[in-house]
């Protein structure tokens, strides 16, 4: 048997090609995933930038934004209350056991209050808002996109960012800190319940510790509270932007809307964690010198 133009038998090259393809497939897929993530991130940043440039038009959308903020708050409040209450209880219990061994049980109020206000309140609220309101925004805008409603807005020369995105960003930027403050309070109350029921701390000493840790005679708002509020504002804005971007990039019918919701919730939670770290580092390390 003769072979022309080949140094190897037929099939050998095809097999080696298939092996090479299978080895390269994960790299190719990772590359495609990274490219898609970069494009999504670029779209999201562009959307936020455009919304910020249009912020002067917010008074026209204020009614819608306030309604949306109210709806978001109402949707998130019951879940936030339950989660925050139990988070406060767990925090008090876990730290209380250790503190009791060192005779420092009186510190439980401070630890619970600081943890809730600095990190846990804003973080839990943001995760709950991403899951409840962010997913709903992505589904709503995704459905509008695949059913050509956003194209209809384009055709009517109505700016989609102004009409759909700006009021939603404003709504979550307002709702997130409000719900976070509520979650902070409920969490501290949860801590008080455990501290008095299981750890032998009196209500009075618990609340004195809470007040001393949060009050700051030199500033209107203590740092632990305002950094938490800044986090909540940034988280709210992030969730709305990521969710709107995911919805507006949806394509391919119901499946595309499902993917948009998934990407909105995943993207929001990842960014909440990363930004939470960055803000903590900024205020407690960089700016503190």
């Amino acid at each position: 048997m003769k072979y022309y133009h080949h140094h190897s038998k037929p099939g050998t090259e095809a097999r080696s090609g298939a092996v090479r393809d299978s080895l390269l497939a994960p790299i190719r897929e990772t590359g495609a995933g990274l490219r898609s993530a970069a494009v999504s991130a670029g779209f999201g940043v562009g959307l936020l930038g455009r919304a910020l440039l249009l912020v002067h038009r917010l008074p026209r959308r204020l009614r819608f934004a306030l309604d949306a903020a109210f709806a978001a708050g109402v949707k998130a409040l019951p879940v936030s209350a339950v989660v925050a209450f139990f988070a406060g209880m767990i925090l008090a219990l876990q730290t209380g056991i250790e503190l009791r061994r060192y005779g420092q049980s009186d510190l439980i109020g401070s630890i619970v209050a600081l943890s809730m206000c600095r990190e846990m309140g804003p973080f839990m609220t943001a995760v709950i808002l991403a899951a409840t309101v962010g997913s709903a925004i992505a589904a709503e805008l995704g459905t509008m996109t695949v059913s050509e409603e956003t194209t209809a807005l384009d055709v009517m020369s109505i700016d989609v960012t102004d009409f759909l995105v700006l009021p939603r960003i404003a709504a979550l930027t307002l709702a997130c800190p409000l719900v976070a403050v509520f979650a902070d309070l409920i969490g501290i109350v949860g801590g008080a319940a455990v501290a008095t029921a299981h750890l032998g701390i009196t209500q009075q000493s618990y609340w004195i510790a809470v007040r001393e840790s949060l009050l700051d005679s030199t500033h209107l708002l203590p740092k632990d509270v305002y950094v938490g509020l800044i986090k909540a504002i940034v988280f709210g804005c992030t969730i709305a932007t990521v969710s709107c971007a995911a919805g507006l990039r949806a394509k391919g019918g119901a499946l595309g809307v499902g993917r948009a919701v998934q990407s909105a919730v995943m993207g929001s939670i990842i960014l909440i964690i990363v930004l939470g770290y960055v803000i903590t580092w900024l205020f407690y390390f960089l700016l503190d010198g």
Binding site: M144, S147, E148, E149, T151, A152, L153, D154, V155, M156, S157, I158, F163
Partner: protein
């Protein structure tokens, strides 16, 4: 007048339009027919400037649409209405608010004039009784009629109709066709109707073009097209209304 000259468009790996030439005369309804996926809706999106051609150009009122600035494009779109397949109504707005939307966003009219204009076009399409209802509580035909009212509320010179009877029963389809013909006759609006329905073409069209492989295969009046012996044209137009 709407004119497309040698328009080419590729979407992904598919050549959708391949040198499309099309002329929509003033004051008439031009019906563009063709099989699904032959680029009928893509043609409409070129006319309104949502898509830009890879080659060739689109002329509306002596203006080259692909070369317009955003501001000029917005001005052009004010002279155009667009009826989407399912009406594309905003779900959280009532029928009235949907129709009022383009006027309210432009802020060119006082509130009471907006109200009277909206009620007038809702009356024209027979939807004034449902002004307070939401899109989720009305039928497909009512959504289309509301979409048509929204397309007409700005008193456009042109209306682009994208599959105006898709998913409708024959009785409702006939109502929509009558409305499209009435819009031309009463308001003098030039229409570009995209459809694969023979009944729609017969009821609404003055001229008919059949699109195939990205360009016009045949064009003429209903009578001329019915006499065509081309296989594809006959498949679309012979045998009376569907």
């Amino acid at each position: 007048m709407i004119e497309l000259r040698g328009v080419h468009k590729r979407l992904g790996d598919r050549q959708i339009l391949a040198g499309l030439d099309l002329l929509v005369p003033e004051g008439l309804n031009y019906v563009l027919m063709g099989r699904s996926g032959t680029g009928k809706s893509v043609t409409l999106k070129h006319v309104i400037g949502i898509l830009r051609p890879d080659a060739g150009t689109v002329i509306v009122d002596d203006q080259s649409v692909p070369d317009l600035t955003q501001r000029q494009l917005a001005a052009l779109r004010r002279r155009m209405g667009y009826l989407f397949q399912n009406g594309a109504l905003i779900n959280w707005l009532t029928v009235f608010e949907n129709v009022a939307l383009p006027l309210r966003e432009r802020r060119s009219l006082p509130r009471d004039e907006v109200e009277s204009r909206v009620m007038e076009v809702l009356g024209l399409v027979g939807m004034d009784h449902a002004a307070a209802q939401y899109p989720s509580s009305i039928s497909g035909g009512m959504k289309l009629r509301t979409g048509l009212a929204r397309a007409l509320v700005t008193e456009p010179r042109y209306v682009l109709y994208d599959e105006p009877n898709a998913g409708l029963d024959p009785i409702m389809s006939e109502q929509i066709h009558r409305l499209i013909a009435e819009v031309r006759d009463r308001l003098g609006v030039t229409g570009l109707v995209v459809t694969h329905s023979r009944a729609c073409a017969f009821d609404t069209g003055d001229r008919i073009g059949v699109l195939d492989e990205g360009r016009i295969l045949a064009e003429g009046t209903i009578e001329e097209m019915q006499e065509s012996d081309h296989e594809i044209v006959r498949a679309f137009l012979s045998g009376g209304a569907d």
